[in-house]
Symmetry: C2
């Protein structure tokens, strides 16, 4: 009967809508919330609304930011002549973790996907073109996902940029470090062969 | 860099504290929240605070309730002479799903566990004894978990109740329906042998 309680049911439903969360997990999470103290529950609810109201998009690169500009665009030490184009803010975080890249980013917030009715206008390509107008950018690195949609987006953007005299590069394909060749799929393996380098 | 944003970081931390939620899942959930519309995020936050403020404990059985009494205790058709004692509100829901039980419940909110410093006073045994004073209850079914703590709690309570002339019963042990005998552990199997019945 406990589950007929409307407030509990509503909370379970909210959790169930999250990606990768099933009914059982959602219930466990709802019971966790009930077990919190009043202050902790309020803190949790505030974290949700705060994240939503305080986090906006950077005016330059469309990455997440808690200010007009994101930390990368604000920084004076980053190389503004290179832009790395990614699909998602999480990809920015992934590349930042390598500590190997010192340029700026551009977050498309998606990829072109005719199947899902998403054309070039539904992602942040216009904003990218606007950044390239003043000629200060030399290279654009396409770091969209190695999927059909990511590929198509990279191709589409590179065709737009090449006439502007900008170098467009693409992340290397190959076998991931630490993986087992035996388990690599054929496409990855043939790309790794194509892209082999002399040692 | 995106992860250095304080509001996002706080939200990720809130999700990480939940049972069974790791860092990656917490991040995914936080990004899901960011992707919601303003109204949806507000609705989510409200569901959290609502569940917390509106759900209390039933004055009789200590189950969750959105009123003074839970639906079971309020019901006129439930048999008030039988009480099924469980550890957790989720156990009430599990037993309700069988549609086989028409008595009332008592939720202990835990089990006796000296290892975790939880004695008889930290669970709702006092409340159970208070319900038995007027002599209207004939049977108490101990449905605590089949763990060391659940066992100990069942034994402790049964010793308190027997002198009061109340029948105390325990859920049957045995192999779960649909399981494979090969994979049943020895303790379960020996309990199933002990409890065998003539067919």
């Amino acid at each position: 009967m406990a589950y007929n309680l409307a407030p509990l049911q509503q909370l379970v439903e909210q959790f169930e809508r999250m990606p990768g969360i099933g009914h059982k997990t959602a219930q466990r999470m709802a019971f966790y919330i009930l077990g919190l103290s009043k202050e902790q529950a309020q803190e949790f609810a505030n974290a949700v609304t705060n994240a939503h109201t305080k986090i906006k998009q950077c005016k330059i690169c469309c990455d997440l930011a808690d200010d007009e500009l994101c930390p990368v665009c604000k920084s004076e030490t980053r190389d503004k002549s290179v832009i790395c184009v990614v699909e998602d803010p999480r990809d920015v975080a992934a590349i930042e973790r390598t500590h190997e890249y010192n340029g700026t980013y551009h977050v498309l917030h998606g990829a072109i996907s005719p199947m899902d009715n998403r054309g070039p206008d539904s992602i942040k390509i216009k904003e990218l073109l606007a950044r390239l107008k003043d000629g200060s950018v030399d290279e654009v690195i396409m770091a969209t996902n190695p999927t059909v949609e990511g590929e198509a987006t990279a191709m589409y953007i590179s065709r737009l940029l090449k006439p502007m005299g900008i170098t467009v590069s693409r992340l290397a394909y190959g076998v991931p470090v630490g993986a087992d060749l035996e388990y690599a799929d054929e496409v990855t393996l043939s790309r790794a062969l194509e892209g082999r380098s002399v040692i």
